[in-house]
Structures are given as C-alpha cells and as structure tokens.
Symmetry: C2
Subunit: 189 residues, 2 copies
C-alpha cells in the first residue's frame, strides 16, 4: 500500500469548480461565533460540493482574514452570500423549492443517513456553538436531523457535526436512482 | 417540532461512562499539531464511544490547558495514553487483536462506510494536519480508509475528517449481527 503524492490525487482545478454541477444541497450557517469553525465549514463544503452557503446573523464571512487562513482557498470555490436575517435565506430557499432541515436535537428526530428521498433539493441549517439552531428557525424547518451520540457530552463541535451530517446527506443524494433525482433547483442568488 | 431542552436529552452521566461497554474501535492520533484539533477529537470520541485514544509523537494531551478548553470535559470520559513512538501504540493494538487502518489517500483505498466486517476490533490512525499519516505507519497498516472529496481542495480539516470517518465506522460496527460480532479485544493498557 502506497500513499499518493499530492500531484497524483485527482482534483478539479479551482477555476473549473465554478463550472461544475453541484449537489442540490445548500447550507444556512446562522450565528456561528468562531471564524475558525466557519473556515472549516467552507473546506468541508468544497469537499462535499454543496450548492451555496448562506452565512447569516453574526456568522463571519471570507472578508475576515482569519477565515481565509482556515478555509485554505475553499472560500474561492464555494458560492456564498451574507444575509443579516436568516429568514431571508430561508425565503429564497423555499422559493427555489428546497426542503428545510435543521441540525438540532428535537422531539421529532430524523437520522442524517435516513433523509427522505423526496427531501431534495435540501437546505441544512446549522447554528451557534452553544445554543444550536435558534427556535424561530426550528419552527420554519420541515425536518430536524440528528446524529447519534453515545457518550456523556451533549454536543459535537459544530464544524465536526456539520461534516458528519453533510457527508451523510451527500451520500444519500448520490444513492438516488435517476428517476428519483428531482429537477435542478432554481437559481438561489 | 420542538427543540429539546438540555435536561430532556438522555445522556450517560460522566461518572458512569467509564463503566459502559465501548465500541471495539480505538484511535491513534499521531503528530497532530493543533491542540484545538486534539480537543475536538476528544469530544467526537466521547460521542462515538471509542475504546481508547493513543496520543503519539508531538500530539498534545489533556495536560495542556488549551485542550481542556476545547474538549469541554470529554478528556475525563475518554480513555487515553501518550506514547512518544506510534509504533508502541500499534504493537499494543496488534497484541490485542486489532486491525490497523490509516485515514489516508493511497493507491488501495477502502471507503469508510465499507469497512470489512472482519476488521473489528479496528484501530484508526489519523496524522498531521499538513502531511497526513506518516509513511512508516502506512506500511504497518492493513487498510487505508478514504473519504470521497468532490471539490478542488486536497483535504478536509483533520478533526472533521476524523468525525466523518469514525461515525461511519461506528455505524458499520453497530450494523453487525450478533454472530458477526468479534470477541471483545484484550486490555490495551
């Protein structure tokens, strides 16, 4: 078994990524306090080929130097926009035909690897490091997605939880047969 | 749909976690530079109920204040030990009957959600943020696990990649039927 050298690993050139068809999965990153978590979310979103990141509330944007340092270039390949009000992002997502899912612990949990096939295109809301997704956004969500946690603590780091959830969601989308694939969502921005 | 209050979420009390049966999955965290990444790995390991963390090389330990700040108590519920040489950790794992898997991009990839059933008990090696798992450890590994990456960048953050991989591995283990479950591994430490 041999580790591959960097130049041996197939990757799309950054200037071609913007032309590629993305997964019909978008993300609302609401009130995430740490710019390093946002940077990490950008890297994961590049790897997962998500459609669009809506940075809302006080979530930092790529204008912040600390984010660019953590995102390592992913801020150039991932489409994003900032909206002070998360409701504005949700309105656009609804209009484009998205199902809204919150990554939060609720009384009606759906496992991240059991997202219903008809939920695509899907938008995932992630929230603040301590408080999670805020109540008014839970009320607007169609689904609440939850990760099993077997230990004593109540939460994973937000960027880690996002990574696990989005990889499950992308895998679920990619398992759809061609007849199950929904029509492409309308333009978001 | 209603968000659960903290006290409504079922979790094992920290002083009872040490008594619980863990998944027969251990982790070697070798030469991870950032203490925040190690802290995040502790939180994820609590949630995933891994058996033991081997912190090797210059990977920081819970003696470091910055780690305790990021791990948020998980350093008390997750069993760990430090070994200057990662080979010492691998020797103990081999003796206890573990299969060794490296989270690394190689010429013989196995998907994290397709770990062979006979690979349990399993030890996962994660490596440095920039260089990944070092060559001598790849040579000792039985498997190399890889996450699909659809974008232009070559790597996820190490704590995020670990989270995605370990959740896949735990799910795979939990899907084993009782006749497939291997005998419990021998004591590691």
């Amino acid at each position: 078994m041999r580790k591959l050298r960097l130049e041996e690993i197939p990757r799309t050139a950054p200037d071609q990524v913007t032309e590629q068809v993305r997964h019909p999965i978008s993300v609302v990153v609401d009130n995430v306090r740490s710019i390093y978590n946002v940077g990490s979310i950008f890297r994961t979103s590049d790897a997962a080929m998500v459609e669009h990141l809506f940075l809302t509330g006080y979530t930092g944007t790529p204008k912040h130097r600390g984010l660019r340092k953590t995102a390592l270039g992913a801020e150039k390949t991932v489409r994003w926009s900032h909206h002070q009000k998360p409701q504005e992002a949700l309105r656009r997502l609804r209009e484009a035909g998205y199902t809204i899912a919150a990554l939060e612990i609720t009384d009606q949990p759906t496992a991240t690897d059991a997202v219903p096939m008809e939920a695509f295109p899907l938008a995932l809301i992630v929230g603040n490091e301590v408080d999670g997704v805020q109540e008014p956004l839970i009320e607007e969500a169609d689904l609440a997605l939850e990760l099993p946690q077997f230990g004593s603590k109540h939460s994973l780091n937000v960027a880690v939880a996002y990574g696990i959830a989005i990889y499950d969601i992308v895998r679920r989308y990619r398992s759809l047969t061609s007849s199950e694939i929904p029509p492409a969502p309308r333009d978001l921005i």
